[in-house]
């Protein structure tokens, strides 16, 4: 079983539309939506939730006003500005600022701090309208621990793929280069970077390439909306090749992608023109690359 993670330095480059199209074309694949901040894949794949569970990623402090002596030590030692004094001389925790370090509990002489696991999201196991299993999640508003939730979603997808004998997991990765995207990439087999011919597209790709190199992960790239700036598209492709990434195709700037989204369909289901053809071609190239890479890996393993 192999895992392909679709990522993009910048959001809004077409990552989710790509994963939705791959889901339509792959048939035998488990899907994992790791954009836990703003998951959108469900808008196209209309999953039916079969199982849901709370996600408890970290602990959070709360102060019992009955036991609070009003000494203010908690506020003095909290480095996250998460504790404030109330009008009646006791102290309270601002849950939005609390990092869950537990220092307030350590220093409280009155044992007034309760420090327990908090539910900060939910994860779901679903069946999409295309009948692939899909694992997705929702992080609570203003919550942290998105890296841990991403790891959980990918673990569950892996378990299902192993148990039900699926050859492939397609993961909709998190945007950025921080904690969640690292959690999206750790231990995956291939990364496909979706980028666009804009200065930010190139800039973000450069940062992602450094990340892929540190992970020693084979990378592929395609330029979305390539016809908006051909010069920059070529520059991006040249840069990608020079960094050892395979260029697996191009997508034009077309209203078909948004129109498909508005209908709740993937672009390969909605369109019969250039957009769908480009996407099918990208999917074929991605498959070819994955095969090539795994053969190389096999050779390495035998020597």
């Amino acid at each position: 079983m192999q895992e392909l993670v679709v990522i993009s330095g910048k959001g809004g480059t077409g990552k989710t539309s790509t994963v939705a199209a791959f889901a339509t074309l792959a048939k035998q694949a488990v899907l994992a939506d790791c954009d836990v901040d703003a998951a959108d894949l469900h808008l196209i794949l209309s999953p039916t939730i079969q199982y849901r569970e709370d996600f408890r990623g970290g602990k959070r402090a709360s102060i019992n006003p009955e036991l609070c002596l009003g000494c203010g030590k908690c506020q003095q030692f909290c480095r996250f500005d998460a504790i404030y004094a109330t009008d009646n001389g006791t102290y309270q925790v601002n849950p939005l600022a609390c990092e869950g370090c537990g220092v307030c509990q350590l220093v409280c002489p009155g044992e007034a701090v309760d420090f327990d696991l908090a539910a900060n999201g939910e994860w779901y196991l679903s069946q999409t309208r295309l009948e692939n299993p899909m694992v997705h999640a929702k992080l609570g508003i203003a919550e942290e621990n998105s890296g841990k939730l991403v790891t959980l979603v990918r673990q569950k997808a892996k378990t299902i793929a192993t148990e039900q004998n699926y050859p492939l997991i397609v993961t909709d990765g998190s945007p950025g280069i921080g904690c969640p995207v690292m959690a999206s990439l750790t231990g995956a087999d291939f990364a496909l970077v979706v980028t666009e011919p804009t200065p930010s597209g190139l800039h973000d790709l450069q940062r992602l390439v450094q990340l892929l190199q540190r992970f020693q992960m084979p990378g592929m790239v395609y330029v979305n909306k390539f016809d908006l700036n051909l010069e920059l598209t070529e520059k991006i492709e040249t840069y990608a090749r020079a960094q050892g990434l395979s260029v697996v195709g191009r997508m034009p700037y077309t209203p078909a992608v948004t129109a498909a989204q508005t209908e709740g369909l993937s672009v390969v289901e909605f369109d019969s023109g250039e957009a769908a053809a480009s996407m099918r071609n990208i999917w074929q190239q991605v498959n070819r690359e994955m095969q090539k890479q795994s053969q190389t890996q096999k050779v390495y393993q035998t020597c």
């Binding site: 809004g12 350590l106 904690c179 909306k225």
Partner: protein, 295 residues
């Protein structure tokens, strides 16, 4: 006429790619043209993009550091209290030997507090850079997290320390609704949410609206790429009584200007008035919000 005051206005959009940076940079440029004192602060420290359109001249750089534990092995007895206390697995004891993983540390200082031998000191760990300069008459500040660092919130805090006492601060927020965005939104006067009128756009807008309400912020919406997608986003704004601050049409000319690293407010004369208008509306909303807060 709105008097320029010390307003902190933040541009957020839930998801990336909605046009936060485009709108924030164009509004900053419009306000500067109207003789306001403007500071643009890019708080998207994982992927700062504002510089690509404002083309600032960077005058100085500061490294951002956070304190992380350093253990004096001559004093340490390997008792393991530090590891027991750490909630982030940043310190662990194996065979009475202490190992520190500074990249996991949240700098809470707990390990130092509990060490019975006083063997733990705190040393600075470098996590990113703040760059300060000028883009024409706009003061420009941006944060940049080092590659493979995850300490986004402290880097954002370092950027926000440069919010000026006078003039208008434009904050370009990171995407999403989790800790980096919440850090950016602390002590903001008015929040501008940028959204696309598509199903993805509406879904992501609903998430940021929920966040803005949890944080008790006053906010309005700018619709970017108006004219494609569907009407559901407009219906939602009306139903929820959310002010529509302006609409930027879905025009290939704007998309093309963007790919060249140009601001529509600068290079496309037909959009100058539109951005001036939106900027004025935002300032008016911000001032009335402040009046409300004072009462």
């Amino acid at each position: 006429m709105v008097t320029p005051e010390n307003a902190v206005i933040c541009f957020a959009g839930g998801k990336g790619g909605t046009g936060k940076t485009t709108v924030a940079a164009n509004i900053a440029a419009s306000l500067a043209k109207q003789s306001h004192t403007v500071t643009y602060l890019d708080c998207d420290v994982e992927e700062p993009n504002g510089h690509l359109f404002l083309h600032p001249h960077i005058e100085r750089r500061q490294r951002v550091t956070v304190p992380v534990p350093k253990v004096d092995i001559n004093r340490c007895t390997g008792c393991g209290k530090c590891a027991e206390t750490c909630q982030f697995q940043a310190i662990t004891v194996v065979n009475k030997k202490v190992l520190v993983f500074p990249e996991l540390c949240h700098s809470c200082g707990g390990c130092r507090l509990v060490c019975p031998e006083n063997a733990i000191a705190e040393v600075p760990q470098e996590i990113g850079t703040v760059e300060i300069g000028h883009a024409g008459n706009i003061r420009f500040v941006q944060g940049q997290l080092d590659i493979q660092q995850v300490k986004t919130p402290p880097t954002i805090q370092a950027v926000k320390q440069h919010i000026p006492e006078n003039g208008i601060a434009i904050l370009d927020a990171p995407p999403g609704t989790s800790c980096p965005v919440v850090e950016t939104l602390q002590k903001v006067d008015y929040l501008v949410l940028v959204a696309e009128p598509t199903p993805f756009g509406l879904h992501d807008l609903q998430l940021v609206v929920e966040m803005a309400r949890v944080l008790h912020l006053n906010f309005g919406v700018v619709i970017n790429r108006a004219g494609w997608g569907d009407r559901n986003t407009y219906d939602y704004l009306q139903k929820e009584n959310i002010p529509l601050l302006g609409e930027i049409p879905n025009d290939r000319a704007i998309a093309t200007a963007y790919t060249r690293g140009e601001l529509a407010a600068d290079t496309l004369p037909q959009y100058r008035d539109l951005f001036t208008q939106i900027a004025q509306t935002i300032l008016q909303k911000t001032s009335s919000t402040r009046e409300l807060c004072k009462n």
